[in-house]
Amino acid sequence: MRSAWRWLLAISLTASISQAQANGWNMPVGVTDVSADIYGLHMTIFWICVVIGLLVFGVMFYSLFRYRHSKGAKAANFHEHTSVEVLWTAIPILILVGMAVPATATLKNMYDASDAELDVMITGQQWRWRYEYLGEDVAFNSSMSTPRAQIRGEEERGEHYLLEVDQPLVLPINRKVRFLMTSDDVIHSWWVPDFAVKQDTIPGFINENWVKINEPGIYRGQCAELCGMDHGFMPIVVHALEEEEFDSWLAERKEAAEEEAMGADREWELAELMERGETVYQAICSSCHQGEGQGVPPAFPALAGNQELIDDLDWHLDKVLNGVSGTAMPAFRSTLNPVEVAAVVTYTRNAWGNDTGDLVQPSVVVEQIAQ
């Protein structure tokens, strides 16, 4: 009878754990071998803790119930027992050694980023990610695409609220992909739970991690290290494609990048630049300088009606290209292409009542960068 109860308990616990899995109460098993190994370690140590807990709390609550003063319990007077004390020091050590062995093996595997077939550079910036496919001339920024109106509750929130981006990272399945991770400003942390990849991106350091995805799909994560005001709005979305699909996607992106580079040579119309500039502004600049250029002084100065900016085009261009040291304003010379810089500078000089009428051609930006 007693053992039947024990079985029932075990079955219901197991059932509730797998239920938890489905409902998002537990760590995901994920879609890589490493994430599955980590899930295994997590559940093993969890069950060890449960068993120890049941034993310790069992004795404790038994004693609390059995030896109540109100029921006339008389206290014993023992206060030492060497062999018991040695035993309960030794047994935990053995359990820990048993736990350390598989943990060490998993960790060694996680640290082996050799023989990768693709290198992706991940750069954290306040508050977006930049992905560069090394050796492929493909690079882009990835910002949260959830509208601010949803955050303020003025619009209904979508299914992937706060976990959606304008341009996801695209990766192939079944290939070992090495990540090289750094930051342009403060420390961020790139985390996708389904890959069990979490790695800080640190200015001045290049960290390494890797992933080999087993199943195609869309995987979501977030920045995990407090990185300032919009830390909570720095999601990660990864599209994992079949290998052939990925190859053709990469080829397409390469072609598009070449076209974009050509665009720097031609003359652009004001309307074209304004349209492009607004897109760039909303994706890159608005998190600090706000949607209408009003800023959050003193940390993030207003751009609308900013006299210094309106009066001096060269100053303006210099700040966008080279940043302002000692502040949160980064240098965009290497993260935006000349067309994007020209567009966003033209846009900020003509939007929100900054009616300078200035039109900055991409070719001017190219010159400026060359100097």
Partner: protein, 545 residues
């Protein structure tokens, strides 16, 4: 062995030659009103000041937490903007760690260590006064940063560079000054405690006769002296980076942001034990009292405490498993961290075995102490899980970590402090606390604490990062529960204040030995303890240890 109780033996005799009643005539007239508290050098009065200060800060830090929980009640930004949210999480952490938990333990140490070792006062009474009065200065300054342009600290209580240097608000310089002042206060307090314990024990009381609260505080004080200067160093480097153009932590100038984390956690990990070792001492006093049975494994408790303290210097980088440490470092810090489970386990086993075949009653101090054992152990389990470095890649910086450290700090450190307050209130005031209200306080607290922090385990495992002002929709239920629990817990702490106020004003009279099973020296002096006690050293009888 060196002779015990060297010259101060004579000193005591000279100052205690006067009988109790006449002692006051020997001193100049006591100042009245506010001056009395500003100038007091009496360990009991300073202890009370520490405890009142800590309780005040507990509520201020608690209000900050409630702002955070109110914003997180549902998805979206409703009440505060992300800038202010970050200031609230940061201030909540700083105030709770440095202004609530640490001063509470120092207050208990001030009150109880002289009483437990049979000393007339702390060894350095004027320094004691100075140590306390630094605190209101430090934390008024810290709180005032919230009103400064650009707002207060917004980089988390761990203030990682360069977010806290290059990218920090202008008020950061004041934050550094405030922390310096608080740090000096801690160091001076620690020096005083060590001097008192090593020099002023009653004749015949060996180190291995001391109550465990005294032992744990002795070890804690050494930890404080060892690591507060490291904190002072790291914030001074920040100060230089911000104001004097150095680049300790600025990669653009050749500095190293990871160095900051090594220094911070070399302070920060022992700091965690600074907040829990005295709690072990309190619980080790209360459980034997209400089990009416001597503490099991006194010697192993002392050794386990010392082992935990030593290990605390070798585990700091387990807070940094995802910063890209080399593999050998990860393995080293994983193994040492797992090892901490051994002495901690010994402590829990000892407490449980003390209960076994005791004669147990359930007054409010005991309830809090028992809850401590269970819930601290749960926090220990999640700590063991976090020690597994590969798994930490998933747990790190999520709500799982938030759940873990709140389990060891709230039903851990803070429940132990409350247990201690209920245990010693009869000694301080001469009255028993209102038991019925205290039991309400206990049951509300234990429900509130679990409702607040248990769902955080699930939120973290499901993928919610910490320190975010808004979250994806799948975390909504967990957060709503946590927020309800937090308001429940916060509100029920008002009962605690009520019990204390009522107990100071009156209540059932307590005899010298307020609890039937209590053994230590503090129960030999009258309740309330008179302003001056043990002017003649007591005769110490070695009892059960």
């Amino acid at each position: 062995m060196a002779p015990k109780l060297p010259p101060q033996h004579n000193l005591q005799h000279s100052s205690t030659a006067v009988a109790d009643g006449q002692a006051h005539h020997a001193h100049p007239a006591q100042p009245k009103g506010i001056l009395r508290w500003l100038l007091t050098t009496n360990h009991k009065e300073i202890g009370s000041l520490y405890l009142i200060f800590s309780l005040t800060m507990f509520f201020i830090g608690g209000i900050f937490a409630l702002v955070v929980r109110a914003e997180l009640f549902q998805p979206g930004l409703q009440l505060v903007n992300p800038e202010f949210f970050n200031q609230m999480t940061t201030m909540h952490g700083l105030i709770m760690v440095f202004a609530a938990v640490m001063p509470a333990f120092t207050g208990l140490a001030n009150w109880m260590i002289p009483l437990q070792i049979g000393a007339p006062d702390m060894a350095l009474p004027r320094l004691n006064n100075f140590s306390f009065w630094l605190l209101p200065v430090a934390f008024t300054l810290l709180l005032s940063t919230l009103l400064m342009p650009g707002g207060g600290p917004n980089f988390g209580w761990t203030f990682y560079a360069p977010l806290s240097t290059t990218y920090a608000p202008p008020s950061t310089t004041f934050f550094i000054l405030a922390l310096h002042i608080a740090g000096i206060s801690s160091i001076l307090g620690a020096i005083n405690i060590i001097a008192t314990i090593l020099n002023m024990r009653a004749p015949g009381m060996r180190l291995m006769d001391m109550p465990l609260f005294v032992w744990t505080w002795l070890i804690t004080a050494f930890l404080l002296i060892a690591v507060m200067p490291v904190l002072a160093g790291v914030i001074t480097m920040m100060l230089m980076d911000i104001n004097f153009g150095t680049s300790f932590f600025d990669a653009a100038g050749g500095g190293d942001p990871v160095l900051f984390q090594h220094l911070f956690w070399f302070f920060g990990h022992p700091e965690v034990y600074i907040m829990i070792l005295p709690a072990f001492g309190i619980v080790s006093a209360i459980i034997p009292t209400f089990a009416r049975k001597p503490l099991f494994g006194y010697a192993s408790m002392v050794y386990a405490t010392a082992a935990i303290a030593l290990l605390s210097f070798l585990v700091w980088a387990h807070h940094m498993f995802v910063v890209g440490l080399p593999l050998v470092a990860e393995l080293f810090f994983m193994y040492t961290t797992m090892l901490i489970a051994v002495p901690t386990g010994v402590k829990v086993f000892n407490w449980v075995t003390t209960l076994f075949r005791g004669s147990i009653s359930f007054e409010s101090p005991m309830l809090f102490a028992l809850a401590f054992v269970v819930l601290f152990t749960i926090g220990g389990f999640s700590g063991l899980m976090l020690a597994i470095a590969p798994a930490d890649f998933q747990y790190h910086d999520t709500y799982f970590v938030v759940a873990h450290f709140h389990y060891v700090l709230v039903p851990g450190a803070i429940f132990a402090i409350m247990a201690g307050v209920y245990y010693w209130l009869p000694k301080w005031t001469g009255h028993y606390p209102n038991e019925r209200l205290a039991q309400w306080h206990f049951w509300f607290s234990i429900i509130g604490v679990n409702l607040t922090f248990f769902p955080m385990h699930f939120a973290g495992l499901a993928g919610m990062p910490r320190r975010i002002p808004d979250y994806a929709l799948q975390f909504a239920d967990f957060n709503m529960l946590s927020s309800i629990g937090a308001f429940f817990f916060g509100t029920s702490q008002l009962i605690f204040v009520l019990v204390i106020v009522l107990c100071v004003r009156g209540g059932k009279k307590a005899p010298a030995k307020a609890w039937e099973g209590a053994e230590d020296l503090e129960w030999t002096v009258p309740s309330p303890a008179p302003l001056h006690t043990f002017e003649t050293p007591p005769v110490f009888h070695r009892s059960s240890h």
